[in-house]
Structure formats: C-alpha cells, structure tokens
Amino acid sequence: MSRLRELLESGRFVITAEVGPPKGSDVNDFREKVNLLKGRIDAFNVTDGQGASMRLSSLAGCLVVLSEGEEPVMQITGRDRNRIAIQSELLGAYALGVRNVLAITGDYPTLGDNPNAKPVYDLDSVGILLAASSLMNGKDLAGNPLKGNPPKFYLGATANPNFSPLELELIKVEKKVSAGARFFQTQAVYDLRVAEQFIKRVAKFNVKILLGIIPLRSVKSAQFISRMIPGVKISKELMHRMEVAEDPKLEGLKIAADFIKKVREHGLAHGVHIMAIGAEKTVPVLLEML
C-alpha cells in the first residue's frame, strides 16, 4: 500500500517535494538531491519531462528514490505516449514498487527543448486517471482482462486554486475525482484566503489536498511566477519583503516557511508540496525553518 496514502489518511501533516530528473543518464546529482531530503519529507514527486524538456524518465527517477528507501510519486503526462504506452508504463512502475501516480496532461512540446516533437495527447489527465483506474479494476482501457493481481495505485492529479473562474477549475477537479484521483497537488499559492476558499469548495469531494509552494528567489522570480501561473497573486506586501530583503533567497524561504506554518496550524490543507524548480538543494533550509 502507498505510504503517502497511509500518512495522508492518518491525518498527519504531509510534506512532499518535487525533484526533477537530470538531462542525462548520470543520476549521481539526482541521488544527492534525494539524500539531502531523505527522512525529512514524506514523498518525492518525480517530474515527467517538465516544461516539455527531454529528461531522464520519471519512472527511472522513481527507482532511484525507491533505492534510497524513500517514497516516490510518479508524474505521468499524456504528451509523449499513447494509451498503450501509458498503461504499460503504469504496470511496469507498479511491478517495480511505484505506488503513487500523478496524472498530468503535459506541457506542449513547442514550449520545451525538443519543439519539433510530435505531440501525442491520446489521453489527457482525466484519460490517464481513467486508464489507471481501469488497470486497478483488473482491466485495460479497452476492457481486456489483466493477469494476476491488479495494481493498487494511489492516484493524484493537479489543481489550481488561483484559477478564475474557480467554478471551471472545480468542475475539472470533480471530473478528476470521478476518474479516480484521491489526492491533489496544487499550483503554487501565496495567499491564504485563496487557499482557504479552494479547500472549502473541494471539501465535498473528500480528497487530500497538498498545497503547492514555490519559494520566491528574487523580485524577478516573483514577477515570473505571477506571469506563468494562471491567476496567481503575489501580494504587494510579499513583493515589498522581497525588494528590501538583504538576502532575497533566504527571505523567499522564510515567506514559504511562514505560509506552511500557517497552513499547518490552521489545518487548512492535508499537507504541502514544495516545488523548488531546480533549487532543490535549498529545500532543507526551508524545512529547518518549520
């Protein structure tokens, strides 16, 4: 059974973090990132060609996490594989010990480093969840029976509490829940009220919510995040803190730590998901502050 699920269901505040596999076959640095966080977070979310950039596979990254005795969450997108490949990847992952799967539609190839690639999108995020749920019921998506015990995945998906209109985002969350999602990892949120509003509206779905955290690194990074994450708002106050900070990186980590502490104290969400986007090595500093 998924350890992440056990933890979330036990009611403990869960912390997960994102780790990006390398652009290459040398996993030493990746292993080091995992080691830095070993025993300090509850699960490692391994990205699948994030930003449509070609990397070592998510499954291989998950195996490194497993070999360190840690709990991986395998991201899987619909961008690069059709339903046959997605289902066989899921079966393979389960056979090798991966229990948690996060279904994502996937960033479009022209946004990445292999812009000439053929976009697949045979399944979108909802379709991937349907496929995984179907495997869990002992059948493939076409209805053919699987041999042996079916896999028991803990399925997750993404959501964006900042999205406007929120009604539309909630419909998508609902679809993902009906397709099998049991936990949600959200886009970065910087405003407690936005988080609160979202959590209230999804409470009826009875799913676990990990609020997304992207520590700010500089005023520039804050501006970038405001542009890139649909609907996200970084308050003037936070911007000001970043502007006047002597060490903006440290300030960003402090802001993130304050936010996480408040979420934990008020029992706002079931946990948080930290996305350091390339700066994974700063996450231990953030964890120290909690």
Binding site: R79, R83, T110, P119, V126, P230
Partner: protein, 223 residues
C-alpha cells in the same frame, strides 16, 4: 474549406530545376478562396516562372481539381499541351495534387502550395482551423466549438493547467478554446454537458486512408 498557403518561389523553382516547359493547374474552389490557386494567382505564377526562363505551355483552373472524373474530362482538351510539358505545377491542395497525379500517369506533378488545414475564412486573408475530421463528430452538446482542432493538445477534458487569463498556453494570441466552450455552454444554460467526462476517442474508426461510399441511399464508412 481546405486552407492552403503558397510555397516560397525559391522552393518552387528548386523543385522545377532542370524542367523547362511547365503546365499550370489552379482550382476554382478552396485554392481560389485561399488566394493560392485562382485565375489571378495562376496568371501571376505564369509571369513569375516566365521571368525565370520557364516556358508555360498552358494553364487551366479546374472546377474543382479534386473531382476525379470531371477533371479527367476537363483536362482532355489540354492533352497535347500537357504531353509536351516537362512537368505540371499544381496550385491546389494536397488532395488536388494527387488527383492530378492519378489522371496524368507518369507526368511529374509538383505542388505550388502547402496545405494547412480544414478551416474557416474569417475575413479576407485570415483563416482558422476548425475540424480535424475525427470521423465521429463529438459536438453533440450544441456548443459547436471543436476542441480537437482548436485546442493545440486536442484534449477532451479541458482546459489544461496552462490556460492563463483566458489565453491558450501554446498560442497566446488565441483564447483557450476550453474556456470558450465553458462560457458558451454556461450562457446556453447547458453546463451539465461540460461536467460529463469525455472518454478517450476511438481511433479504430479513423484508420487511414479514409474511404467513404454513398450508393443508392446506403452509406458505408471507414473515414
């Protein structure tokens, strides 16, 4: 309508390298509307090729090129001109090109156009893709906005996480089509249709090449 775009002249000239006598075929329908193969463009092409030393043996704008039997008949009149040419330049779509290839046997036929998509003429010179010919139209909710052709990812349960401020993550000058669908269904009071999960498409009905036969009221299809 099939939307086409003229190839750069350099590319056409390099295709036609070493071939001197050229017969030009245009098309009265889509390529005329796309301004890539009507009377005017055929005349323009004639002059351009002549200025590069080609000899134009003749030309015709077929009505339309893709009607095999009709085009076969219409081209009969130009039999000797075409026989006396080194090549035929087709100013129609990729379908028209192949219809010509089928009619003209071993005469080399070259494309003057790039075929882009099946789409709408929004206004003069502005075209937008509208249908991917998926084989079983999904648009049964009354919304009449196709996500397969208008969402770059062609996803069935959108929007994706990239839709930002109503704009598409891929083509930021376009509105996210899934947000358009949501807004229109909401305005129609039919949001219930938006809530339904769309199951993955059945590609077995879309094995290429598509064939469609309508005969004596019976329609059999593998499109």
């Amino acid at each position: 309508m099939i939307i086409t775009k003229g190839k750069p002249l350099d590319e056409i000239l390099s295709e036609l390298e070493g071939l001197e006598k050229i017969f030009i075929v245009g098309c009265s329908l889509c390529a005329t509307a796309s301004k890539t193969g009507g009377e005017e463009e055929v005349e323009g092409m004639k002059r351009k090729l002549e200025s590069f030393g080609k000899k134009i043996t003749g030309s015709i704008v077929l009505d339309p090129v893709c009607n095999l039997q009709k085009s076969r008949l219409d081209l009969k009149r130009y039999d000797s001109e075409i026989k006396g040419s080194d090549a035929v330049l087709c100013m129609a779509c990729g379908n028209g090109l192949q219809t010509l290839g089928e009619i003209l046997g071993d005469k080399p036929v070259f494309p003057a156009n790039d075929t882009l998509f099946l789409g709408e003429v929004k206004r003069f010179g502005v075209f937008e893709e509208r249908c991917l010919q998926c084989g079983r139209c999904l648009l049964t909710s009354g919304v009449a906005i196709c996500p397969l052709s208008r969402c770059p990812k062609g996803i069935l349960n959108g929007p994706c996480g990239g839709a930002n401020d109503g704009k598409c993550e891929v083509a930021q000058d376009l509105k996210c089509v899934w947000i358009e669908i949501y807004e229109k269904l909401k305005a129609m009071g039919r949001l219930g249709d938006f809530r339904k999960i769309n199951y993955p498409l059945d590609y077995s009905i879309k094995v290429r090449p598509g064939q469609h036969l309508v005969r004596r009221g019976v329609s059999s299809e593998q499109a």
